[in-house]
Symmetry: C2
Subunit: 343 residues, 2 copies
């Protein structure tokens, strides 16, 4: 027997929870091409889209699409791209009043080629001057939010934001993606929740066995909730209530574009956490939001609404299964029936 999805996944609380996202804002130019380039010459794309995104920005958009209230702290340069980034993100329902305009710096831009096999070539440019200045962050600054999510693109502000969130007793969530040396190490101790990307987790743990990786990362950061998103391999987490490691398969979808899927996962995770959802339901919400996004070309534009995720979750019976470190996934018969125990 499979339990039905609790209402929490379908209906956001009213008033909506507030999530602060801290980090990247980038003007992405996406080109769809038949195949990726292999040297010099001219490559003609058959579709193109320009969109303001970046890890924290896309996560904020996911929060807004899922019915939450999203605020973004990110820096843009004093150029036309910066104006466009702020305008585009504001139009997308994100509160951009906390964004910073840095005169003399260039806004971040990125070109992304996506081929018909879904493979990607990313050329991101970040001006080193963009993140030089960091405003101080106090517990009071973040006290009106129900969760704070930071990425690794603006480490100094991320650290201040996480520390302020901890002081304000709010969830302090780290998007643990691949970053410059030492950034994860600096931010992780300040986080209450860490959602690692697979490459970052494997690199940090020095292992490619994701169950083992989760265990190793939990031992390294025992104070925090630890999870790893691994795309089509699903997601893994350490369940602090039971001490078990859990795996949730990825929803089966026709993948068109995985760009920003991880960010949508993080945004949904932050919103679920802000709403106080049980962790298993939070992971289901985040997994489904990310999966639905992958069916649409256009990076974060494909982020689904709460109603779309809710409908898809009704049809999706998969739940987190406890798995043994260093071994195959162990199906626990009752895990899909006794949600309260497992989640």
């Amino acid at each position: 027997m499979v339990m039905t999805v609790p209402p929490a996944s379908n209906t956001p609380p009213s008033p909506s929870c507030r999530v602060l996202c801290v980090g990247a804002a980038v003007l992405d130019t996406l080109f769809r091409v038949r195949s990726l380039p292999t040297g010099q010459g001219k490559l003609l794309p058959y579709d193109m889209l320009q969109v303001a995104e970046g890890m924290a920005s896309s996560a904020a958009f996911a929060v807004a699409r899922l019915g939450g209230s999203a605020s973004l702290w990110a820096a843009v340069g004093g150029d036309a791209t910066g104006e466009r980034l702020i305008a585009d993100l504001s139009k997308s329902g994100i509160d951009t009043s906390g964004m910073v305009l840095v005169e003399g710096a260039r806004s971040a831009v990125s070109t992304i080629l996506v081929d018909d096999q879904g493979e990607r070539l990313i050329v991101p440019f970040y001006d080193a001057c963009l993140h030089h200045t960091v405003k101080p962050v106090t517990a009071q600054d973040v006290s009106s939010f129900d969760a704070v999510l930071v990425d690794v693109r603006w480490p100094e502000l991320a650290l201040q934001s996480l520390l302020a969130a901890r002081e304000a007793r709010k969830p302090a969530i780290l998007d643990g993606d691949v970053a410059s040396d030492g950034v994860i190490e600096m931010l992780a101790p300040a986080a209450s929740h860490i959602v690692f990307s697979q490459p970052a987790a494997e690199r940090l743990a020095g292992s490619a066995d994701l169950v083992e990786v989760v265990g190793l990362l939990k031992r390294r950061f025992p104070h925090a909730f630890i999870s790893v998103t691994a795309g089509e391999k699903g997601s893994f987490w350490f369940d602090d209530a039971t001490g078990g490691i859990f795996h949730l398969a990825a929803p089966q979808v026709t993948v068109v574009d995985t760009l920003a899927a991880g960010d949508i996962f993080h945004g949904a995770f932050a919103l679920g956490t802000a709403e106080g959802m049980p962790i298993g339901e939070t992971m289901r919400l985040a997994s489904m939001a990310a999966a639905l996004k992958c069916q649409v070309f256009g990076g974060r534009i494909g982020a689904p609404t709460r109603a779309e995720v809710g409908a898809a979750l009704l049809d999706w019976s998969a739940r987190g299964l406890a798995v043994l470190p260093n071994g195959p996934a162990l199906e626990i018969a009752e895990c899909s029936q006794t949600q309260s125990r497992l989640f």
Copy 2:
């Protein structure tokens, strides 16, 4: 003995000549990378620049930088990129009042990767809807210009503009770059001057011997002045006064970025023609303007001023040499001394 450069190359006439440029306007994103990509992954550029350019736009900028008065007819979409293109080109001294904003179309954008060997990967996107509508062009519309230059990106408007220029007895110049099938064939009969790029000329003539190519193209388009720009191989043209084919070596420069060099050549050529300069001096002006541009990263941004070109021309003794079809370049001893005869 080498003749000194005539004042025409240094000092533009007053009031400045007016050149109308018709064709492309593109928001280019230039990335400097150590080496070009060879498949999927992430490629970190070490420099980046966004600039409004495209063939006709860059040519118009060259005209303005060289002291001419430049107007641009080009289409942009009804999007943020379109606003930026018009603002950027206006700020660069180009009269954009004749530009067209096409609601429902996306502005043209292009990403260009330039590696440390100067090799390029270009990913250009043109919305098919951008050039659907063409306004009628009369001789009166172009009568206030001293020359009209068209590229191959908006063929229908280019054709009307060339025909109007011919009717108004103004130089009607075609930038004969590689284009869709039949475009050059459609435009060339309406042009009074054609400056081919090397690949387009070779493709059209079915030969890789540039002297032979010039002869073949002259026989095909006998009504027009015929020339070919060939980058570091210099430029070639058919001299209508003597019936000879001439070659002008390229100035020796340290090449950093050849992007838009051809367009700068065309803009300078159009201005020289508008000013009524002898053809040999026009080719020297255009060659030097393009060469100086190559020393600077940033596409059309590197276009030199008239004073910069004038100073460089004083130090550059090279002049067009008559060459024999199908044979090696023939040095004519007196060619650098009897400019009036050769040019």
